[in-house]
Assembly symmetry: C2
Homo-oligomer: 342 residues x 2
DNA sequence: TCTTAGCACTCGCACTATAAGAGTGCTAAC
DNA sequence: GTTAGCACTCTTATAGTGCGAGTGCTAAGA
C-alpha cells in the first residue's frame, strides 16, 4: 500500500534519524544521494506517511521522526542486513581467542565485548542451570557444627553453600552420608534435586537415622535457596551516553528495572527462539517504553538455550545490531556446544 | 582561633546546608533556635569565616556554602556523634536476623541495607580471600579431557574453575593426585598456594611422573587465574537521587570509576584501620572530587579485616553516616567473627 | 568596642519580547 | 504528478526587565 517512493523516503528518514538523532526535514532529505525529487514532493509524501502513522513531528514546524509504527515497518520490511564490517568480526572473534573452557566466562566476555561494540547495554542469559545434571555432591565439614555443601554439575558449574550440621557428627558419618547422596542423586537434574532430596530424607528418617535426617533436611534447605541468577550484563552505563536519554528519572527507573533480576523475564521472554525486536511500548515494562530491545537465542548442545539481548534507544542501529547478534548467536552456539561436548 | 560564635555559625551553616542543599543566608540562620544575635552580626561573622576559607559563595549575592576546608573543620571539630535512632538500629540488626552462616552473604546484605539506610552508595570489601586456609582440594572430572578444580577454604569460601586434563587419565589416577594435593596443601593459605603448587609440580616431575606433572601444572594455572574480587556494592544507582549530581558526564565517570575494581584501592585505601573521612579533592581519584567517602574497617577474628565505605556528595550527612558505620562495623565484626570461629 | 538597624547594591532567576532559522502546508504554475 | 514560491508556525538564542534574596558597609546605639 506504500508506493516505492514512500518506502524510499521512509527508509531514508529512519536511517538518517538513527544516525543523527535529529528530526529529518524535507530539504535535508532532498540533498541526499538516491533522492531525485524535490523537497516539495518529499513534503507531500512525508505528510502522507505521517497521515498513515509512520512518521511524527515533535512540533508543528519541525522535521519528522519515525513513530513506533514507522520503526516497526522499517524493521519488518526495510531492513537490509548488510555483512558485518571486518573490524566487528575481529572483535567478536576475540571473545573466543583464548580458549576459555568455562561457559560462564565465555558469556561474561560476550556481554562485555557486545556492549563495547554497540555502545548499548547487553544482557546475556546463560543456560538454565536447573537443567544441569548433578555430577558430584560433597560436604566439607568446616567446624563442629557447620559444613559447606558443594554440587558439581556436568557443565562444570559449581554451587556451594555453608549450612549448619548437627553437633558431634563425626567425619566418617558425614562421608557415609555423602556416599548415599552420590549413589542416589548423581545424574539427577538440579531441578529435580529438591524433590529427590525430600524422598531421600523420608527414607533416611524411616530407617530411624534421625541425626542423618536432620543433616539431609538442612542440606536440602541449603541447596534450594535461590542463588544469583545467571544473568550477565555489559555496558550498564552506556545508557548514559545516549543523547536520547537525558531525564535522570527515566534513566534511574530504566536502570533499576534492568538490575532487578525478577524483571529479566519481562525483558527477555523465555523460550523465545530466534531473533526478536521489541520497539518502545511493545516492551512489557513501562520503564522501557523509550527503548528497543533486540533478543536472540543461542544453543548449547541440543537441549539447552540461552539468550542475548541488546537494550538501546528506539533510535537504535537495528541493521548493525541484528547482524551482530546473528553472528554472535551462531558463534556462541558453536563455541559453547564445543565446550559442553568436550 | 575561631571564636565560640564563629564555631556555632559554622556548625549551623554546615548542618543547614547538609539538610537543605541550598546556600545558607544570614537571615535564615538568624531565625534558627540557638542563634541569639542578629543577621547583621551573622553576616560579619560569615564574612570572616569566608575570609578564613571555611565558607564560600556560589555568586556575589548568594548565601554561603561550606568549602572543603569548612567540611574538614566541621568533621574534625564540630561533629557531635549522636546515638542512632531506634529505626536505624532495627534496620541494621535486620542484617543478622536470619542467622546466615556465610560471610559473603552477610556482607552482601550489609551493603544492601546500608545503601537503603543512607541513600548513598555503599562499597564493602570482604576479607582478603588469599589469606584463607585451604581446607580441602578436589578435582571432579567432567569429560575425558576436562575437570573442575575445587578449593574449599576454612571460611567456607569455594573457588572453582574448569581446566583441561591430559587425555586418558583414569579416575583412580586423579584420585591419587587429589590425595597427594590434599596431603601436602591443606593448611596452606591461598596466597602461598601458588608457590607450593610449583614445588609439588617439581617434585612430581622429578619422580618422572610426567602426566601428573602436566595435571599439576594446569591445575596450578587454573587456580591462580584471578577471580572476581570480593567487592560488594549497594545502591549503585543512588547517585542518581542526589540533587548535587546533575551533570551526566560527571555521573558517568563517577559510576565508571566505582565499578572498575582496580580503582577500589584508591577509593578505600587498604590497611586503613578505624574510621576515615575523605572530602572532595582529598580523594585520590579526580572523578570523585565532588564526593566524600567515609570508610571504616571491621575485623574477623584476630587477623582478618574488611572495609566498609560510603560514597556520597560532599554535602553528606556526616553525623549520621559516622554513627551508622561505627555501629555496623562493630556488629559486623562481632557477627563475622562468630561465624568464623564457629 | 561590640552589636545591630538600615540601606544601597549585586546577582540569579523567571518572565517577556524580539529576531533568526528551520521546516511545514498550501497554492499555483509547469 | 511535480515543483517553485511563499506565508505561516514554532523553536532557539539573545537581550531586557523586575523581583527577591542576600550581601557589605555605615552609622547609631548599648
Amino acid at each position: 500500500m506504500l508506493t516505492e517512493r514512500q518506502l524510499l523516503i521512509l527508509k531514508v528518514t529512519v536511517d538518517d534519524y538513527i544516525q543523527s538523532a535529529q528530526p529529518v526535514g524535507s530539504n535535508q532529505l532532498a540533498k541526499k544521494s538516491g533522492i531525485s525529487f524535490s523537497s516539495a514532493t518529499i513534503r507531500n509524501e512525508m505528510a502522507d506517511l505521517e497521515g498513515m502513522g509512520f512518521l511524527e513531528k515533535t512540533h508543528t514546524s519541525s522535521g519528522r521522526i519515525p513513530s513506533e509504527r514507522g520503526y516497526r515497518y522499517y524493521v519488518d520490511h526495510l531492513l537490509t542486513p548488510r555483512p558485518l564490517p571486518k573490524e566487528d568480526i575481529i572483535q567478536l572473534r576475540s571473545i573466543f581467542e583464548d580458549k576459555i573452557s568455562e561457559t560462564e566466562e565465555v558469556i561474561k566476555r560476550s556481554a562485555m565485548i557486545l556492549s563495547e561494540l554497540t555502545n548499548y547495554t547487553s544482557i546475556l542469559l546463560g543456560p538454565d542451570v536447573r537443567r544441569h545434571i548433578v555430577k558430584k555432591l560433597s560436604i566439607v565439614p568446616l567446624t563442629t557444627n557447620s559444613a559447606v555443601a558443594i554440587i558439581v554439575t556436568d557443565s562444570g558449574h559449581v554451587e556451594n553453600r555453608v549450612f549448619p550440621i548437627p553437633e558431634g557428627l563425626n567425619p566418617s558419618e558425614i562421608e557415609k552420608m555423602v556416599n548415599i547422596l552420590n549413589e542416589r542423586l548423581v545424574g539427577v537434574s538440579l531441578y529435580d534435586l529438591h524433590t529427590r532430596l525430600e524422598q531421600e530424607t523420608m527414607m533416611v528418617m524411616k530407617q530411624h537415622m534421625e541425626r542423618y535426617g536432620e543433616l539431609f533436611s538442612t542440606f536440602r534447605q541449603a541447596v534450594i535457596l535461590p542463588r544469583e541468577k545467571n544473568v550477565y550484563y555489559g555496558g550498564k552505563l552506556n545508557i548514559l551516553n545516549q543523547p536520547d536519554f537525558h531525564d535522570l528519572h527515566k534513566i534511574r527507573s530504566l536502570m533499576d528495572v534492568m538490575e532487578e533480576s525478577e524483571h529479566i523475564p519481562m525483558i527477555i521472554p523465555v523460550g523465545n527462539q530466534g531473533l526478536h525486536i521489541r520497539i518502545g511500548s511493545e516492551n512489557a515494562l513501562s520503564a522501557m517504553e523509550d527503548c528497543s530491545v533486540i533478543t536472540v537465542s543461542y544453543d548449547i548442545g541440543e537441549e539447552q538455550t540461552g539468550s542475548i539481548a541488546i537494550v538501546g534507544p528506539k533510535r537504535m542501529d537495528y541493521k548493525r545490531i541484528v547482524s551482530l547478534l546473528d553472528t554472535l548467536s551462531g558463534d556462541l552456539s558453536k563455541e559453547l556446544t564445543r565446550i559442553f561436548r568436550k
